[in-house]
Point group: C2
Chain length 198, copies 2
């Protein structure tokens, strides 16, 4: 684990991800709630983020069972207004439309298993329940962390809207509350990272 090759490879990959993040930040492509965390991680010596999403509310159109048959009909990286959902439903779709809240997801790269364990420990302290090491190779450990605030149900199929307007309004309020809760958890995670990662 202390040979130069893995270290050099890690440094190279970390630098590449730092540049990608820098460009994405400049272009306004990083979710607001994720900017602080990603920038902090990029500034550490031993860690980098390879991908991250702070959570979202989406309308997903499924025209079949495979992922290639699934399309974003609407996507918000923020809370929504109930009318935005109602408008989204009114617009023509042909498959089955799901309304979903997806929690944050985050991939963090580290040099070795000790780094990965530091991430897992911080995750536990932040009360984040889903996370694990998904790649474990010399010089390349990747930890995936995910929130648990979810909602997801079909609301339209073909031209038929399956639910009443009242219910859509209820779901909008519920989705917003879940997303806000998800953001609070993410902020707690950033706090824990700042305590221990170098």
């Amino acid at each position: 684990m202390t040979s130069k090759q893995p270290l050099a490879r890690f440094a190279m990959v970390k630098e590449r991800h730092r540049k990608t993040l820098e460009t994405a930040l400049k272009q306004g492509k990083v979710d607001e709630q994720m900017q602080g965390l990603c920038s902090f991680i990029a500034g550490t010596r031993g860690f980098y983020t390879s991908s991250c999403c702070s959570g979202r509310i989406i309308m997903l159109e499924k025209r079949g069972e495979r992922k290639t048959e699934t399309f974003f009909h609407r996507k918000w990286h923020r809370t929504v207004d109930e009318d935005e959902l109602i408008d989204g439903l009114a617009e023509g779709t042909s498959g089955e439309v799901w309304l979903k809240v997806d929690p944050f997801i985050l991939h963090i790269g580290c040099l070795n298993i000790w780094g990965a364990n530091a991430i897992l420990a911080a995750m536990k302290n932040a009360g984040v329940k889903r996370g694990g090491i998904i790649v474990a190779k010399e010089g390349k450990f990747i930890v995936e962390l995910q929130g648990t605030e979810r909602l997801g149900a079909p609301v339209k199929v073909g031209r038929k809207i399956l639910v009443q307007k009242e219910y859509i309004k209820y779901l909008a309020a519920r989705a917003n509350a879940l997303l806000e809760r998800n953001y609070r958890r993410l902020a707690k995670l950033e706090q824990e990272f700042r305590k221990v990662l170098e």
Copy 2:
């Protein structure tokens, strides 16, 4: 990693989980779709399962935001009849009731990182997308694997049923289809495990 202590500890923990599984199987407490996989893993030399659920359809009553304020109103480890959902909704509850499909979840213990990586490789071959090493200590590696077939939305709050009967019937059919798909993925995972684990 080759010192005797971790090996002995691993063997002890594996044996304890083997006995727990044996008792649970005798008492009919292991989900039918999980029995083959768990029994196979228990028979390997290098792996054990510490907990597993093959997936389920549930009605969850949330009386508050904390986990201790959440109660199972109904729980099925099988597909459901639409009338079972309608009956469940009719029965008195006071909080917010969610209808949910939870995918399978599985914890596999292994001696070391090579074992954990074998699990992750088999997982990928089976097309299971969520899984990672959640404990990484000498002599104790735990991999968590989870399916991705989910559904979850509030359907009742206080005494008020939020959705119409037609929609509940649609959700019942959809939940059943998701659970069946989840079972097929689990069967594929067992197949991949049987190819490579010893």
